[in-house]
């Protein structure tokens, strides 16, 4: 079990860092989808090994809602407003984002050991993985201005909490975890509507600047 969790953890850390240096929304969404699918596969494996149905249900919900439905909803919105498909004006440059996100992974390991780890008897590097995901998600929200990317940051945050619950405390009632997944769907649907209205209410000048940046980027 711990070996599979270590592999899962390594992949998720790499995907989390990959999120930070992307500027195209679609790539960020696909990375998030891949991360969710990896988590779902781990849930399914856990269900098979322990001969328990709850992780299997959670795996199906995670793969269906987080790994498929939510990414499709966001990417479909991008097709409506393709000129908003990249982050044109990030709060922080790509290089500093990568450095800071690596620092955050180390910091989250230390914080986990200092805060929760010693109480739940888990202090290994991979035990801190959900914490690292929490910080990666929060950092994505803070470091970007694009609403779609901020939304993915929020989803990554929730993935971290879901993983913490499922990995750290497998006795957590399925009802709660299922509620988290379904509630998230509601947040995304509402956020998508608001995002679309935001795009529509944006001035034409802003659109022209964003479109110019996009075409410039594609040429170069």
């Amino acid at each position: 079990m711990s070996a599979t969790y270590s592999i899962t953890g390594f992949i998720i850390i790499v995907l989390g860092l990959f999120l930070q240096w992307q500027v195209y929304v679609s790539r960020i969404v696909f990375t998030f989808a891949a991360s969710s699918i990896v988590i779902a596969v781990w849930f399914a494996y856990q269900g098979i090994v322990t001969d328990s149905y709850s992780p299997i249900v959670l795996a199906v919900l995670t793969a269906g809602v987080r790994g498929t439905l939510i990414p499709i909803l966001i990417v479909r919105n991008l097709h409506v407003t393709p000129w908003r498909a990249r982050e044109n004006n990030p709060v922080m440059g790509t290089a500093s984002s990568i450095v800071l996100s690596l620092v955050l992974v180390i910091f989250s390991l230390w914080l986990f050991r200092w805060s929760i780890g010693r109480y739940v008897g888990a202090t290994g590097v991979y035990a801190a993985l959900p914490f690292a995901m929490l910080f990666q998600g929060a950092f994505l929200i803070i470091s970007r201005r694009n609403a779609f990317i901020q939304m993915v940051g929020y989803l990554e945050l929730e993935n971290g909490v879901l993983l913490l619950g499922a990995w750290g405390f497998p006795q957590l009632p399925l009802l709660i975890e299922a509620a988290i997944v379904l509630d998230l769907l509601g947040v995304v649907v509402v956020a998508r509507i608001i995002m679309r209205m935001r795009e529509e209410s944006l001035s034409i000048d802003d659109r022209a600047v964003a479109e110019a940046a996009l075409s410039e980027d594609m040429r170069g």
Binding site: A147, V187, V190, I193
Partner: protein, 456 residues
Amino acid sequence: MWIYGLPIFCAAAASLLSIVRVVAFDEVVSVSAATAAVASSILIMFLPNAVSPEIFVDGLSKIMLLTISVIYLTTTVFSITYLKYVENPLLKKRIYYLLLNLFVLSMLFSVTVANFGLIWFAVEATTVTSALLVALDNNQVAIEASWRYVIIVSTGLVISLLANILLFAASGTLDAGTLRHITVSGHLLALAAALAIIGYGTKAGLFPLYTWLPDVHGNAPSPVSALFSAVLLPVAVFAIVRFLGVVSDPGPRRLLFVLGVLTLGTAALILTVQRDLKRMFAYSTIENMGTILIGVSLGGAGAVGAIVLLVAHGFAKSAAFYLSGNILSRYKTMRISSIRGVHRTMPVTGMTLFFASLAVSGAPPFGTFVGEFMILSAVFAHYGPAAAVLVGAFIAVGFVAVNARVTAILFSPAHGERRERGWVGVTVPIISTVLSFGVIAFVPSIEKLVSGAFGL
């Protein structure tokens, strides 16, 4: 046991029926459901507490159920007149009522359900159901406020979700009925409670996470602002109270006290520079939430004062927002310097606003005064005169700031003819203001209900 779910059933039925395409059916159904919710909440008041794996209804839940139901009723009635003045609404009327009913449904659910995880789910569901209501005015500022609300509050609530997971790790259960009988201590639980304070505090307008609140209250339609201020924020406070009930460590209560004082102080100081009427009332709400959380952190008489203040403030603040809606429909602005002579142009609205602003700022003889007085006494008893003077000074600054501005817009020279809103538009705020006064008659009952409530 089913009888405790009646208010929830009323709101759920109204949600389903309000989408039927019959003229004014959405309004009739919503007002009827809200009336039935009030009646069933009053009935529940006289029933014993209910504890089961699904439902946990104690004295605090009963007070919350009744407060939410009454403000649900006044808001649905006031919405009938208010929606006529929205020029380019984002939502169709029946969708507005659908979301309003679902919004109330999620709040009623959160104060009734027994499982801490489902309380979190219900509080998060309030964000989903209310986000589009905020953007009803369909302009860029309202949409931006709505987006900020979704992203900030949802992110904050992830922290409270983490708190729930840590609570489960420390105690092995999330059931309120079980948690009530076990005293769990330890750093992990204290950490969970601290995270719950910060997470739910984002929704309750706690320092420094209140930044979404003035934007949303300032730009949402007045009935929605009323619901947010009067009951949504108290529902988040309710979730914090429940968490505190589990923890025996004094650390989280001290943290709550410090954050409560910082919230009160910051809001009181910002109130002195406000230029927008609804934003001013939003900061007044933050100020009151800070005071309520100070009372909650102290327990005993302070906690009773906090609940008295919570109920009285809810009625008074909903009146203030309804009246702001009346003024907006006439003056087409919320800029304080542009609103002049309301006591002559809209005399009933003006005089009711005068009393409502006295009520929200804690003037006697309103229930808010009683609540604040009890909290100040508790601060004095726990932390000595210096702390009581500091808290009292912040409350006084807020009082002067709110009433100076309201007096300025009411009693300045008037321009334009006298034209009052229809009877619904003026009667509902009058009733809400009177209820804020009437709370003082029920202080002994509130004390009785609150004593022994889980978390207080």
